[in-house]
Amino acid sequence: MEKLYEKIKDLNIPIIGINRKYINKSFNQLKTLINNEVVK
């Protein structure tokens, strides 16, 4: 993922890490991004 990030960091695409045991944080991050997109 770090190699990919180095190649695309100019694009400012958010990269979210999912912890399979505690998914709430990453799930909410994704939800926020999706809702922001919908508002746009």
């Binding site: 190649k7 695309i8 694009l11 695409i13 958010p14 979210i16 999912i18 399979r20 045991k21 999706i34």
Partner: protein, 139 residues
């Protein structure tokens, strides 16, 4: 009328296919896809792109023991990851140049190749980079 969604999310291969994880680490309730994420994406009509699994493709090791980054940190594996990263980069740039949107990229923590903040080292979890999400939020 063309009814397609122009929104995309790229996901680590095993988010959609837990069986691509190393042996013994599919411990939680999701036996195949990690459903809450997949459902959220489906409900919002977001195109899902499954990125290649670097570990399973390396030496054709779909069934493999878990290994930390120390064991994977070889010239051959790094070259293999570099090639995958180049292909995914090309795909991302193609999507964006076609006026489609990429909402996010989803990685899996503790994975030697797909982690974002936490990596497995064979000696427990180590906090790795923390800048990916934070940098975005600072924009």
């Amino acid at each position: 009328m063309d009814n397609r969604s122009k929104k995309f999310v790229l996901v680590s291969f095993c988010l959609m296919a837990q069986s691509y994880q190393a042996q013994g680490i599919v411990k939680y309730q999701w036996k195949s896809s990690i459903k809450p994420f997949m459902q959220l994406l489906l409900d919002n009509d977001i195109n899902i792109i499954q990125m290649p699994c670097a570990e399973a493709e390396f030496g054709n090791q779909l069934v493999r023991e878990p290994k930390g980054i120390g064991k994977y940190n070889t010239k051959e594996f790094n070259e293999h990851c570099e090639n995958i990263a180049l292909k995914v980069e090309k795909q991302i740039r193609q999507i964006l140049s076609s006026n489609y949107e990429i909402i996010a990229i989803l990685g899996i923590e503790q994975s030697p190749s797909c982690c974002v903040n936490y990596i497995y080292t064979n000696h427990g979890w180590k906090k790795e980079k923390d800048y990916l999400w934070k940098n975005y939020m600072k924009r």
